[in-house]
Symmetry: D2
Subunit: 415 residues, 4 copies
């Protein structure tokens, strides 16, 4: 079989790599059996076993070799999930829907997935919103907020103990939540703690709870979704207090990635962008969630802001997201760019992007997990600004130009 | 009228601009009545008179204000041309074909164009190739090469004297020529001079002669076309001897511009580009010339090389250029990009670029004319590497990533 | 000038054409200075004068020659309009915005347009909805409905008398109105008359009044817009009573035209269309009106229904219309078609349509005016089903397949 | 499993269907293990077994039920092939390359494919051209033409005897051959026989031999490829002599299908098509063969002719076919249509077609096999003109308008 020739990327050390960490590293995934998480888990194991190439993984390119990042094969996975079913079922569904995970691969990874399944625990649905509840197929538990936090924290601690892990990175891959209205409660840790103690559930979303739990345990945290409820000031305060780095929000993997790569070109030539219309169509669970206007709001805000930030002037923009069930996770986006040049003449450019969101996002998550682990080892804390190129709304960074964001990363790497 | 409110960009000095040069600056255009030259001349005069906005001109953005570049209104134009007719006729033809030059504008600029016409002299057709000869509608003169060079040089000298110009920039906007087979003759100035003296016409193209004339007069030279016969080592030697800066070749204004802006994105995410197919369709004189396989060769070479240079690995690419008369100068390009990501999954992106080549190129020419004049004033010589972002094949620069080329320019500007 | 060689299409009779009508024919345009009407009037006069080719006009093709339709040059125009300004100003605005009307043409047609202007009278704004009122820049007159009808009728009668016209066709080109909720009042003429007498303005829209006026005068009526308030049963009853043919609604000129041409292909191959997403972007007055959700509703209903009618099964469809001011009337539409074939494999097709709505619609209006005049001469009444190929919602016809609709027309013509 | 609920389309008789033929029907496939043939065989068996829906098969729609066509499950397959390997290997390769054949399906159909394999015999490579020889990986046998014909005929006769088949349809699915220069030899059967007896191999291609064999045995013949060497007059004479119907050539399944569906729309509106550029990119064996200029010639001729035939005037067209290995059989085509309307204004439309050629073609082949069997049963002979909608160059039919071709078929069906 052709693939047997490939090096087992995750286990072997490329030449020139520094001494890798001795220990394995835990990865705790909130939303552990969703499409993105499943793709990431299957892919990570496939690459670790030499069954797939490390495509899409930046941290597998020579530039990152000197950093001594944890090998993919040394990542140990667990997580929280609100839906029932197994990882294999989730992976089979992906095979059925889009074919992105190949069937023979699943036959080879059945044991790996079952092993991860054993470390997946029930998540939380507190104030998750109607659409997520419907997808989860169950109701939020009646447990008080504080005891819910205790339960989730205990899950992670038990996982680390059982697997004998000293380090663990948390990553939030749950569905996009409805926007949480931010108030004074979210501005200070003390206020948030008071609300939690008073069991004021409407003050949080599941992502608030997850981020709080990670912060409380002092674990690095990657917030990959657009939900605004996770990295609120109160939670960031807790991360800082416990010395854990974090970053978010909303992974930049498709149409927005292209936007941020392309928009600078118009600036370089003083071509005035008059209008930039973007239409995204997608199916699958992500599409269902975003078809709910409440949940879509968070997403569109992320996608729409960056153009005038890059170009330096206000312009007519539109970002549409429509649910097209037949596409499943094979997202298609059409962007139309109307611009004006010399002699005030108008011209246009359009592009169609046809990608699979999970395939594009999964390696980025793995890249960030490894870099977050590095940051933790190095004792860094606060927002990991060097990861801004991976986010639609990079925390603590005003820069949206992909190329300038890229330099933030490469500068960090070569330091 | 709305436009009367606009500042007359070329004549007024923005705040913070340094003392501008006292004198006006000549611009000698080889191919002075072609589509690109006509668009540039109309646009420059329209902006200078406040009849159009300075869109597309990078040198009119605040970043360039401190450089004290020559104002657009202080540029004085002349040139060589092989076709008959007037600039107004050429501009009317553009209005008829594409509408890029607005009709009322021509009514207001009639005198300006007639004035420039008076400084346009017959060019040379020596060894120009069948297609250019056919378009010119005339035969090469029988004059010996050396006397042809004398004649052309005298034209420029007379222009500068008549207009009392101390400085003049030469720019080559003639049609793409058939590739010239380079030999030892082109490697050294002495050898080239010998060939000229021996009247070996097959050793040169018109662009060789034009570049030679500019070099001989010690004038900065911008080679905007793909023809390989202009900036040969022998001619560069002459530029260096006379202390004149130069740059080329092949203006990067459309599909290739987009390519060089977009390709780095795939690199940033370790997405493997499997194939990048590009199809360009255009009409007009440029299309006629490129429909000739001989002439197309030079162009395709320019467009095809940069992808593997940016991405760092060989890939399947194709660049097609087809003549579609009905489009005139409204070039349309379709690019299809096939790439592979995580789990070896293949995805695609496609874009359609609908621009007007002359509208995109004209301001770039003006930008470079002003920057070449600056370089001359500053006593710089050799290839102007900081202009590499404007070229498909930047002389003396291996970098094709548009963003890194942009930094070369901004670094130069802020120095 | 090249065009002077062209035959003056409107005035000369091609060979084999039957005896044309002796008299000139009136065309009364509701919305006489809108973008579509202006384009139609300029074009009709330009063709009649031999200044433009009769492109886009089906009735100028040989197939229609034997019908003896009224020559374009024998059409005499008048109309109602709610906005101020002249036709020349409206035409200049079109030149400025999109260039579809060429500048030199306006210089030649100044007198023709002024002459038509003299037959344009103030229209009605009764219950027109906020957006149309805003565009009109004035308030509805306080006159009772019945007297408003009298005034408008008198305008048309005076026009016909002054121009000595025996025949006149009415055509509605006003902006899309908010959907009118239809009740018993609209089902019978007696009920509608009662409402009019009682001055119940909320029971009508301007298009109801215009259609009523045409019906009352026994004039053929073309309802080109999507407004549902015009061809209500009560008004159709009046048309029938007065023996005047009519047809509507919503001209099929762009994306929907393509849809109805393309959808049958999938049926011919038993390819299951899973999803058909259509996104329309446009600027200009039409865009402003449709940006109002109230007005858009009527339009989207027209555009969305036909796919399942053609394909014979329900499918996921979406029609978006977004306002992009910079485009003006140069509408762009992107359609994405997801379909499933052999072995249940999914494939896709996408198209981008870049047309100018007025340019596409204007000749269709002229075609229908001539055919409506013919129908009237022939003594036909009721809905002109043979014109169904020109409408998104053809009255009295269930067929949406463009090719079958085409046969309805050609069968009529060859009868 | 969801599919088990489906009716086994091939075996059950829908209501209202006439008495089906008692016996099973043979299908002899020239090119039996190519991508198209493999897809067809897998699909036919999958549908017959209720493992896939009969999508893409027109003959499975209600309109065709009354014809009493042979059920898919009663088709018995055999064929000739020049390459080695098994059908399962060929199907696995398709799974690996494009995923169009699903992996679990192959596990269920292993026996069916092995059973067909037993009826596949070595084909002929006589004068096949360099590229096909290279793909076949072997040399033409040295056997004289006449004995080659005897051998191939005996294979089919043995198959029919072994399977106890009274009827058999032949279908040519081999690769596109280089154009054969047609001479007097091909005009009359007597002349061709003479050339065969004289063993003049340069006078034939493999497709000539295959068609000759089918004609000789009096079997209906479907020529699905563009090769011009099969249905030459001499061979048609033999078909007629033996009373066997036939049809060709070049299946219309992708970009050309869309063209022939769309072009009439421009005619219906008197929109002048100025240019129609089509670019096809594809990988896989078909792409390799067409990358050879010799073989491409036949294909491009088929694709290019139909536009002016439909529109009724000459226009600028271009059809490109380029080899892009990474696409395999997932063909992508981009078409750009430039057209002119009212006021001579130019507009454009473009479409991108992303289909899998084999998936689109396979059901069409099955449809024609069943209809050819019907024609044979009915005693029809000569070209089956009612199948013209399935071909780029329909034999004996000048009509290229897909909709009019469709009427030829539906008229035949309802007769």
């Amino acid at each position: 079989m052709a693939r047997s020739k490939q090096s087992r990327t995750g286990r072997q050390r490329p030449k020139g790599q520094r001494q890798p960490p001795k220990d394995r590293v835990g990865v705790w995934v909130f939303g552990a059996r969703g499409g993105l998480a499943t793709t990431m888990l299957v892919g990570c194991r496939a690459i670790a076993r030499g069954l797939a190439q490390p495509r899409g993984l930046l941290t597998e390119t020579p530039r990152f070799a000197p950093l001594g990042l944890v090998p993919l094969g040394d990542l140990v996975f667990g997580g929280h999930e609100v839906r029932s079913g197994t990882l294999l079922e989730s992976a089979l569904e992906i095979y059925e829907h889009t074919g992105t995970i190949r069937y023979p691969l699943l036959q080879e990874l059945t044991d790996d997935l079952a092993s991860i399944d054993r470390s997946v625990r029930p998540g939380t649905l507190v104030n998750a919103g109607r659409t997520i509840l419907k997808l989860a197929g169950s109701e939020p538990s009646g447990a008080p907020l504080r005891s819910e936090i205790e339960r989730l924290s205990a899950d992670i601690r038990a996982f680390m103990k059982r697997e004998r892990l000293e380090r663990c990175v948390c990553v939030n891959l749950t569905s996009t939540e409805p926007v949480l209205k931010l108030t004074r409660t979210h501005a200070k840790l003390a206020a948030l703690d008071k609300a939690i103690d008073a069991d004021r559930r409407s003050a949080v979303r599941p992502s608030t709870v997850y981020a709080y739990v990670a912060a409380r345990l002092g674990l690095p945290f990657i917030h990959f979704t657009p939900s605004n409820a996770a990295l609120i000031p109160a939670v960031c305060e807790l991360f800082d207090a416990n010395g854990a780095p974090f970053m978010g929000s909303d992974g930049k993997t498709g149409e927005t990635l292209v936007k941020s790569a392309l928009a600078p070109m118009f600036k370089y030539r003083n071509l005035q962008v008059l209008s930039w219309q973007g239409y995204n169509i997608l199916g699958d669970r992500d599409g269902v969630v975003l078809a709910d206007v409440e949940n879509k709001q968070a997403k569109v805000q992320s996608k729409d802001a960056l153009l005038s930030a890059i170009l330096g002037y206000p312009l007519h923009t539109h970002v549409g997201i429509d649910y097209v069930p037949s596409l499943n996770d094979l997202k298609t986006a059409w962007d139309f760019i109307h611009f004006q040049g010399f002699l005030d003449y108008k011209m246009s450019m359009q592009f169609t992007w046809q990608g699979c969101d999970a395939i594009l996002a999964a390696p980025v998550v793995l890249d960030m997990v490894r870099l977050a682990d590095l940051a933790r080892r190095r004792g860094e804390s606060g927002p990991m600004r060097h990861l801004s190129c991976f986010f639609k709304r990079p925390l603590g960074v005003d820069e949206h130009d992909l190329h300038l964001q890229w330099h933030l990363l490469t500068d960090y790497v070569s330091r």
